[in-house]
């Protein structure tokens, strides 16, 4: 593919605490704000806006107050009239849209990096809504080469952009930095360090890009979300009758083949994967997904080819 010229990224936003109990992002944002206070705006080579997305949930160390904030950024929710009974997160989403958006407009911030943790053993997973944004894919490629302490994987949800409802869909380019495993309500130093490094490298890439560096194209291995699988449940009460099988627990992104164990019931039976297609499980045993009816999700591995890119000079 030929060299592609793309506009410079004038400003990025680093958002933590979109879920109030996912603490790495909360403390990365806190630390960045402390650095800015101490060293001034020039502490980073590019303009960075730091945001604590859900301050009330952070204060109470809960995922959300009324409703999951990371589902509140669809066009419909962002334009819905606010009344006394509007959920807190809907109001806050509209506030954030004004701060780093407006979603879909030319004034929207260039890049949002939304920081999340998971109880699943997913290492560093970069979550993209689309497989055709060269900027975010190049950042992913850059992080994959520079970070070696943990596996760095790319997960594409492949939403039609018009349906996207998460925070990073507000800006022109966006992605989620998901790091685990970490219990909610806990900050682990090893996980914090990975998250901080990923944010610093993202800033680094943007600075290099804006300064004229050519980033070579190539192939990026990515996982594409196919579907979700729920726990076995009692048909009447809907309570769980099995847990993730010990052989699947912590094996995010492994190869799941027909006959492999999925669940171990409380009465000792194993439930196996019965489908023909070999897929890759992830978000295995994420705490927040029990209420969404998800034990794990399944992805197909694929290769995305990206062009070389360089900043276009005005």
């Amino acid at each position: 593919m030929a060299l592609l010229f793309l506009p410079a990224l004038a400003r990025m936003a680093v958002c933590g605490g979109t879920h109030g109990n996912e603490l790495s992002g909360v403390y990365v944002v806190q630390e960045m704000e402390r650095q800015r206070k101490e060293k001034g705006e020039g502490v980073w080579p590019i303009p960075v806006t730091t945001v604590l997305s859900n301050p009330r949930a952070v204060k109470e160390c809960r995922r959300y107050i009324d409703t999951d904030m990371n589902r509140c950024f669809s066009r419909d929710t962002l334009s819905s009239p606010i009344t006394d009974s509007s959920p807190y997160e809907v109001r806050r989403a509209q506030e954030l849209n004004n701060l780093v958006g407006l979603k879909g407009s030319t004034d929207a911030i260039d890049l949002i990096c939304d920081l999340h943790n998971t109880t699943s053993n997913m290492g560093l997973t970069l979550i993209l809504c689309t497989s055709s944004d060269w900027v975010t894919l190049h950042i992913c490629k850059y992080l994959q080469t520079k970070i070696t302490k943990v596996p760095v994987r790319v997960l594409v949800l492949d939403f039609p952009i018009s349906d996207a409802y998460s925070l990073e869909s507000v800006s022109k380019h966006g992605f989620t930095l998901e790091v685990g495993p970490q219990p909610h309500g806990v900050v682990r130093a090893d996980i914090y360090i990975i998250m901080k490094e990923a944010v610093d490298l993202t800033i680094d890439w943007i600075h290099k890009f804006n300064s004229g560096t050519v980033f070579e194209g190539g192939d990026v291995e990515a996982y594409m979300l196919i579907k979700s699988v729920d726990y076995p449940r009692d048909p009447e009460t809907r309570t769980l009758t099995a847990a993730i099988h010990p052989q699947l627990q912590d094996k995010d992104f492994c190869l799941l083949k027909r006959g492999d164990p999925l669940f171990l019931s409380f009465s000792g039976e194993t439930v196996n994967y019965e489908e023909e297609e070999t897929l890759h499980p992830f978000f295995i045993n994420e705490a927040a997904y029990y209420e969404k009816g998800i034990a794990f999700q399944l992805a197909k591995k694929m290769m995305l080819t990206i062009p070389a890119v360089r900043v276009q000079k005005d």
Partner: protein
């Protein structure tokens, strides 16, 4: 050397309760108790009344540690004797109810044994928590469980500290035993943690059944970790933490911590060292629920407790 062993005759343990959901987001106990309420076959033992019980149902419903206040700190004399008035926090009402059902605490009518099932985000493995170094029944039971679980390790934590000991849900019974298994995130059910807790309880109930049948348990010793001190995170003037448990200490529950060892890592990369004079054995390292209780970890000291032989008292 005496020709007769000193045997302590103890009352039969006729009534036993198993509490799950004292904290509504600690999933192993909640799942086990709900399972046993539906089908109690697995926990039935000869001559023993065994009651599985969800202690904090509203918190379980919300999958939250508590509604108004921590139930596992609520069994104070003040709370238990508080008059039944409007506006009592939910957990205080619940504590009074539990005290009526399974107590009264300190009386002859109280349940003999309560097992309170907990999970922790700390890497504590299987831990049994005792509140007294002189409860022979509990010491012998814990000794039995440890032997039965081997080679799987079961640590014993003794909290007899005058200030740090707290008024637990299980303290209503004559013989309170805490089961703490981790690491497990709040709101998550891990199969291996669930099965460990299930196995510990199986052995515990076996012990009680054997004891009640009149068997004499010989004198034994139990290695315990005795609670010494609570260590908080470094904080700023607003009370926000300024450092995290150091990577070298993270997940090292029960391992020795010596003067000069790394303890915390600040967000901007500085290491804070442990300055204590003596070697300690930290536990509850980085437990999610303890950030608000100003605790990064607890220090303990190793001790060997001796227990007399015991036998059920003849009626």
């Amino acid at each position: 050397m005496s020709s007769r062993t000193n045997i302590s005759c103890l009352q039969e343990a006729a009534r036993v309760a198993i509490f799950g959901g004292t904290h509504g987001n600690e999933m192993s106990g909640i799942t086990l108790v709900n399972m046993w309420i539906q089908n109690s076959a697995e926990i039935e033992r000869n001559g023993l009344l065994i009651k599985p019980f969800i202690s904090n149902p509203r918190a379980v419903e919300k999958c939250s540690r508590y509604i108004a206040t921590d139930l596992n700190r609520a069994f104070t004399p003040e709370n238990l004797s508080a008059p039944d008035v409007e506006g009592l926090p939910y957990e205080v009402q619940r504590a009074k109810e539990i005290n009526r059902m399974f107590g009264p605490k300190g009386s002859a009518d109280a349940y003999d044994v309560i097992f309170d099932l907990h999970n922790t985000t700390s890497n504590m493995g299987s831990t049994l928590i005792l509140e007294s170094s002189t409860d022979l029944f509990n010491l012998q039971m814990v000794h039995y469980i440890k032997k039965a679980m081997a080679p799987h390790t079961c640590s014993v934590l003794l909290n007899e500290h005058p200030q740090l000991k707290y008024s637990t849900t299980r303290s209503v019974a004559k013989h309170p035993v805490g089961l703490e298994v981790g690491p497990q995130p709040q709101g998550v059910l891990r199969s291996n943690v669930f099965e460990s807790m299930r196995t510990i309880l199986k052995h515990a109930l076996d012990f009680i059944e054997i004891f009640n049948s009149g068997v004499t348990f010989p004198p034994c010793t139990v290695d315990v970790f005795r609670v010494q001190e609570r260590m908080d995170y470094p904080r700023d003037t607003n009370g926000n933490i300024t450092a995290m448990v150091h990577p070298h200490l993270q997940d090292c529950d029960w391992e020795p911590l010596n003067r000069g060892d790394p303890m915390f890592l600040t967000f901007d990369g500085r290491t804070v060292l442990y300055e204590g004079a003596n070697t300690v054995y930290p536990t509850f390292i980085n437990e999610a629920a303890y950030y608000e209780k100003q605790q990064a970890f607890m220090t303990t000291g190793r001790e060997i407790l001796a227990a007399n032989a015991i036998r059920k008292a003849c009626k």
